[in-house]
Assembly symmetry: D2
């Protein structure tokens, strides 16, 4: 069967490498080019394939039917325009075009939620990793009007270090991260809050969100622990997610709290929900786990590309 | 100078070994006996000293002036009685005699808070590790009436695996814990909640508490991330802790979020507090870090013993 | 296409679980039964399949065409007999029937070396993990008479903790293994030495072997570092392995030293060889890396089963 | 008691920070200055003291009685000259002045071996971390003529990542090092070989040395595993070390193999020796463990400084 050529801009980082690996194993896609300015000319073994990085400016953009942009935030919007001018459709992994960042009309690719808007999309804004974990946990409540109006949602989350990218920083060295655990962007200042709030507001939630991310001494994975007051005590705390996502192959709903090991190297979000005992307001504790590089980045990007290109949505994605 | 003989009941676990090590390096204490039923007859090198474990029943209780009980929850209350009958005073590291567990008159040894009740105490209930981290973070607010009445406090915390003890469990093997992260006791069901709620209530807090603990792939340390609505936006978010603990040698208050590395192997609790941006209710995010085996167990136990015995409070404690 | 029923005896350990997972994803095999005495009645999610453990004695042995035995050393030989009596062929992952253990006629399943003896085998002794790494590194030299007669080969190797099995031992807890590294069986006393020496002798090596294993703070993987004096300085140090294994899909030969990351979760052995500079005797340093649970256990077992059953040798094996 | 002023050149790396911390806790030394060009003006909390880094060129060299140079290899020799011209004595942690690097007359500070040459030394070359572990293991054999003439010694060693320094390199990121293990400088090409060979030759060893270092996923510690043929089978394999180092406070000799945990954060080298079974030549397997930043760098540097300055040798060193 004919394979569809796709390109990867910014292929040398963790997300870019994961994209190349997924494309290499994808039954219907083939890698047209992979760019990386600093690593230009270098080769890497990704997904069993031998990939050679070229400079961004040397990318034969028009050869691809779709391009994944994994260049840094800030630089990506310009590249999306260049790619569109050359023809291909784009899945943009940066935050440049996400909700709340001023680019109104671009679909936000939480695939399970936005699928209908993706079929004809020329550009898809791929969600952030924290936003994927947290929004998949909260949207079923928001869409059903179950979040207590005026309440405050607390989301703490912990991410493996690949979430910070493949960048030479002394604070990310093994000798600094091992045996440590730390919060960052404390004070509700993380840049992904904009997209989370914007999507929650757009889905009817009238609640504040306080988000505190943490850095875990693991390579991959995000676990979000969310406390949310609900309008009523649900008979089955899992019901909203089962209603919303029960038929989704990439969403796992379970009574047991998910762990990173359940999701690592898989394109799934795994969710549990639990009544909080001993409190006056009916409250749910919702746990949500993803692999930050798969369902939180490259995997969901390929899932979105599959929809955009009219392929089988699960094609090439690790379950 | 004459050294005061102390004993350790239950000396082979993580807390018991840490106790023996602290006693070995203590300028005024000496180890009278160390018990461990299963390891009886075995020797261990602890704090530079050669310690030989004897059976609990063989302990010459009356030889000690003070006994640390680190036997398991449930079994400890009986041992406290036996020790008292033999004469020595007791610092009990189990939860048996802590607030909310029915033993009303026994002082709860958050040393900085309860110091005045400890001087004449014959028994001290040493706080749990999570409780130490969370109560030291919340009591300054509670005592000043700053916690919004009727609100819900959210405390998520992550602990290194030594918190689960030196027990042969397959789920605590390196191969199972490495590269993982998981919540447990989800649904507000952790057994330390009783003592936390009891102490908060006793200090004037009219708020619910939702506590979700997590297991970290590190050996030592607890980081608690607490979101709490306050009655007013404080000019200086650190002020309540500086007022309460500013002169304490074992409490560090800082504008930067504490990390595990800041506190590991030290008898300190390190606290930061931050205004939450973008929310309607004035809210603080309070971070609190301890070494679960030191300030969260053996270190605080020695700190309490120092007060009980009339020694210098910081004697023998690693700063 | 019809799937061939296979069973797994001793399915709850690391190797047994890996076997079940490989069978679940195998295009031509299906799991007939999985036994685990202590976990009987429990379920596990392995390779995307839902596996229910039954007691060893309840296994419908005759339903399978081939049985993998992953019961402990010592108990396995008896089970091999029981399975054979019921009909199926056996791949035995224990050391009971390996060379040097007294069971002369049973083929030793280093697949790439023993392939011809496996086609008609009713029982295959699957090699140990350390033996796989070390023998694949040394046999090309031994078979070509390149090992200096009378010399001493030094093999140090380091293994991830899954090599010690899924057993509740306090010395394998995360809190004990993290940030540590240790040698064991020091003094050339490891029980896998028997099979290594026996195979080396059988392939013409006239050299002593000193083997020192180490425990690594990682979950999976073995790296062996072997120093071996050779009869002559080779023009190309990789030549013996390229001659022997150049066409093998599961052997990777490279000028760069292999790392655990290169091989983890893959059914490969990756080998490099390097001249030692600054020494009087021509000497090679040979590095060999495998995943102890895949090429070092379950993967090679499936590879052997594929040969025994006349299937495509790489069927169902992760590359 | 009067404290002796000492300075640290290159104080912002791992060894430099450890030096500052040791000086802060030292009963007889005080920190006169700490330099770090890139971090000039920054502050760090080291050993409980508040240290402010100044530029190298701003160091008031003459204020110190002794200067530790922890600037990079290559740059250090020049700084040693500048310091000497200003007056203070120097302990140089770089390899610039070590044996085999051309600077004949400078004592090589394996303290236990070279103590007598240090009392009047104006400059001491502090040994490398691998060299410390390996030479302390081999010198007792060499000095007694026990190493088989013409034989080959095999030393493999594994080091925690702090051995590579506090440098922003992507290959040292947590996400790259965790769950990995790799050899480097394979082929007997490590730059510390020069000093090891030179010292062994100088102590009568007539043997080749093959050294293969590895990178461990731990922060601190080196374990060396050494296989060495001896002239005769010793009745007690520990005897040479007990004879040589039996009275040394910083050398621990034991029948059990040392592990990293035994030595981390301590200024000791811990050594065991074992007969190799099943080989024709009498052979010892010697294990040697140190903390690469303490006995392998800053701790031994302070030990040497203590000798040079006529202080108690163990002063300020963690046992």
């Amino acid at each position: 069967m004919h394979r569809i050529p796709v390109g990867v801009l910014g292929a040398s980082g963790y997300a870019g490498r994961e994209l190349c690996a997924l494309v290499a194993r994808h039954p219907r896609l083939e890698l047209s080019f992979a760019t990386a300015n600093e690593q230009r000319g270098q080769r890497a073994r990704l997904g069993g394939a031998d990939v050679r990085f070229i400079a961004h400016d040397d990318a034969p953009l028009a050869d691809a039917q779709l391009v994944f942009s994994a260049v840094p935030h800030g630089a990506s919007a310009t590249w999306v325009e260049r790619v569109r001018a050359a023809g291909p459709r784009v899945v943009d992994l940066s935050s440049d075009l996400r909700p709340g960042h001023g680019a109104g009309a671009i679909p936000y690719g939480l695939t399970e939620v936005a699928r209908d808007q993706l079929h004809d999309a020329s550009v898809v804004a791929n969600p952030g990793c924290y936003a994927t974990a947290i929004l998949m946990a909260l949207l079923p409540l928001a869409k059903r009007g179950l979040i207590a109006p005026g309440s405050t949602i607390t989301a703490t989350a912990a991410s493996g270090v690949t979430g910070a990218g493949l960048t030479p920083r002394t604070d990310l060295l093994f000798g600094e991260v091992a045996e440590d655990f730390r919060a960052y962007a404390v004070g509700n200042t993380h840049r992904h809050l904009t997209e989370m709030r914007s999507v929650l507001d757009g889905n009817g939630a009238d609640a504040d969100l306080i988000f505190t991310p943490h850095l875990l001494p693991v390579a991959r994975g995000i676990l979000a622990t969310i406390t949310v007051q609900v309008t009523d005590r649900l008979a089955d705390p899992l019901a909203p997610w089962q209603d919303e996502f029960g038929a989704e192959p990439f969403v796992e709903i379970d009574g047991e709290p998910p762990t990173l090991r359940d999701v690592v190297r898989r394109n799934v979000v795994r969710i549990s929900a639990h009544h909080a005992a001993g409190v006056r307001q009916p409250t749910l504790i919702v746990l949500s786990a993803i692999d930050n590089l798969v369902k939180g980045a490259a995997g969901q990007a390929v899932q979105n590309a599959n929809v955009v290109l009219g392929l089988d949505e699960p094609a090439g994605l690790p379950l």
